[in-house]
Symmetry: C2
């Protein structure tokens, strides 16, 4: 046992001090911007009743739920005969009544319905909590990871979409990440499918159009024909596949193509309203190939990509109607966004965008030369801490070399040395760890230096 290191479940992670400081930097940035727009934080339990979770994420999702074994004699409802006769899903439903949260959206819908009498609509909430999925772990995919969601329910206004785009823009502006925002609308996609008479084939359509950059217009057309679209349908799609130009030009083309679809035209109007009102720094543009979560979203859809790192979408969102209907409260429309903290972490890491402070623990370490000196240091440390400077006093009178190694390992920028002489003079010998420079200062001077 002594030689076998303990470990953690596969797909889970420990976050050490530096990683945590960096993750907190991301979470705090998102939290601050959400709050600036009046979104208010809630938290829901890690465990939900399985009745709340099951059937909400498709058949595959049900399999990926972590189920929690009932306490006490969980076997009671299942006889030996039952055990012999039934399969794992059947049995798990008898052994377990709770499961771990799979996302933040379903618990939010449950929350809204359960607390509807206490809520003032529209309800703007954000939520930053871990979720769990029994996915096969692989690079960048974990079984426990954080989601950072903001949603508003109970308002149909497109102002919400505009503000969510501005939130996205502001978060990445603060993080220093250049992003592009892609916007689409489920109603436009429905309209296209409608006018070519292929309402059930939106996905194949967008997948094919998405290949334009790689295989060119002829390639896309070939694909569509191979997928079984008729030459007539492909003909009608030509203006859409090669859609380009300014927003006005794109919309003009789209409105021509969609002139026979009321839904499609409504989608165009929604996109126009949102993109005209949006005034962020990052470019936001209509992209017809964007088709995320089709079964889920009903209006605007958006997705964010980092411009300087090839890492896929780091942000997504959209409008969904009737989210709370599954819990018996129909008629509430919602729109939301979700930040992927892990991917944002990787982007900031790759671009070297984490601020220096995020690496730091204490800013000042008092070296411990012995009992009397430590008492002197403790008194000085009280003053630097009162001034808000994170300070450590090395607890043991260890060898100087060991204490300096500790300071180096923790990237403490300043070290205080207080020996016999400094104690007599009432001073602190302050060493700048970057330059190696050392200077005798009063504690007030030390505070001024470290705060400056």
């Amino acid at each position: 046992m002594a030689n076998q290191k303990p470990s953690i479940p596969k797909g889970t992670r420990d976050f050490g001090p530096t990683e945590m400081a960096r993750r907190n930097y991301i979470f705090n940035t998102i939290r601050q911007v959400y709050a600036l727009y009046g979104y208010r934080q809630i938290e829901t339990p890690s465990m939900e009743l399985l009745g709340t979770l099951m059937g909400k994420y498709g058949e595959e999702g049900d399999k990926l739920l972590f189920k929690v074994l009932n306490s006490g004699d969980f076997t009671r409802p299942v006889s030996t005969q039952d055990y012999e006769d039934h399969d794992a899903p059947w049995l798990s439903a008898r052994f377990c009544e709770k499961g771990l949260r799979y996302d933040l959206t379903v618990p939010f819908a449950r929350y809204v319905v359960q607390h509807r009498d206490e809520l003032s609509l529209p309800f703007k909430r954000f939520q930053i909590q871990p979720v769990w999925r029994a996915d096969r772990p692989q690079k960048g995919r974990y079984r426990e990871f954080y989601q950072c969601d903001a949603d508003v329910v109970g308002s149909d206004s497109l102002l919400n979409e505009v503000e969510l785009l501005e939130i996205v823009d502001e978060v990445y502006r603060r993080l220093g990440v250049r992003v592009g925002i892609k916007v689409n609308n489920r109603k436009i996609l429905s309209g296209i499918a409608e006018v070519i008479g292929a309402t059930d084939r939106i996905v194949e359509l967008t997948v094919a159009i998405d290949k334009l950059d790689k295989i060119g217009l002829d390639g896309v057309n070939a694909c569509l024909l191979a997928d079984g679209f008729t030459p007539g349908q492909v003909e009608k799609l030509q203006p859409i596949i090669s859609l380009s130009g300014s927003l006005e030009e794109k919309l003009a083309t789209m409105r021509q193509v969609l002139s026979q679809s009321e839904t499609g035209l409504l989608g165009c109007r929604e996109v126009e309203t949102v993109l005209t009102a949006y005034r962020g720094h990052a470019a936001a543009e209509l992209d017809l190939t964007l088709a995320r979560g089709l079964n889920y979203y009903t209006g605007c859809i958006f997705e964010v990509k980092a411009l300087d790192v090839a890492i896929g979408s780091i942000n997504g969102g959209g409008r969904y109607d009737n989210l709370t209907g599954i819990f018996g409260l129909p008629g509430l429309s919602g729109v939301g966004i979700s930040f992927g903290a892990d991917r944002i972490y990787d982007v900031l890491d790759q671009l070297g965008l984490f601020p220096d402070e995020t690496a730091a623990g204490a800013r000042l370490l008092f070296i411990n030369f012995g009992e009397r000196e430590a008492d002197y240091c403790l008194r000085q440390a009280r003053l630097t801490r009162q001034a808000g400077i994170p300070t450590e006093v090395y607890p043991d009178p260890a060898k100087m070399k060991k204490q300096m190694q500790y300071a180096n390992a923790l990237h403490v920028p300043y070290v205080a040395l207080c020996g016999e002489q400094e104690m007599q003079e009432g001073l602190i010998a302050l060493k700048d760890m970057a330059t190696g420079e050392q200077q005798k200062l009063t504690v007030e001077e030390v505070i001024a230096r470290l705060k400056g």
Copy 2:
């Protein structure tokens, strides 16, 4: 279904916006003070391998662990015969390899051992995460609750104890809660048991002494005799039961009683060192009846009580030797504290100590009079948000009354009304919701007012 509200597992809770803001106020205060003392945050996975958790919390603790069902066909290792032959604990060990974190201490010990090659000792970490226990839910006891722990491992110095007491003091000073800190030392208790020849009866001893205030010296003596202590033992305990006076006086008495116990005298010296060096605002005093976690702690023990609310201990901690030994890394001593966030919440709530800001979402709400006005508001809101003022624009052009009700329900202190006239003048009519006063201002003036 439509009439049946969804619910959550018993013993768990939703935290709405106001509760969350208040909880964050507590967590942030604790976090800031921990950081000021150089403690660095880590997080560990919610799920640990059952091998890490089982056997660490006693037999009762094992029963209270939430176990997570293995994914896929969890029944594979258990034949029908096995199912018939074995009880729930045996079966659960086959069906489940993971469990939910029961506290933060064992995962921390696991973390230290697993990452020992990356850590610089002493390692000062704090951790604020939920834990789960399948306890019978009751008032004030939940199945999911947060712990806020700070521990340092790899240093025997009593300076750590001093700093932890100062951290406790500083957190409650910031929260505005008057507290008393009780300090004891496991070695003193061992010493007492040693000198009266009853090394296995420390608990009965402290329980009896603890009753002094209620039943007087004669009562305590009667209790001890009834518990089977001999008249000779009770005689020897007299100076301890009625221990009083200053720290010096108490220690002088203790040293006399413990003169034959090396361990006891060492405990006295430790208490003296810690309490002499401690210079917090809250009184910290030696209390021999304090005997928390006896099987666990080996040196200093402390406990904190709120002076103005009768609610029991809101904080505890102490030194333990060899915590990491269970994971194959012996010889590391540690000392730590834990804040009970739920109890602190109740204390602040009962004493009315939550700052006003913790009730608030947005500070400013723009009333929505229609599309054109909303566009104007959105532009003004960009400026107030840039100035750091949490701002909402009501998304729908709903009835004025409804919008004002929303502002009231969310305790938004200021409402902005921008109609035709304000738009022409480029002004904002700002209404102070507390006084009802209304004034036309430029957006710069609004910002100055709300920031002031």
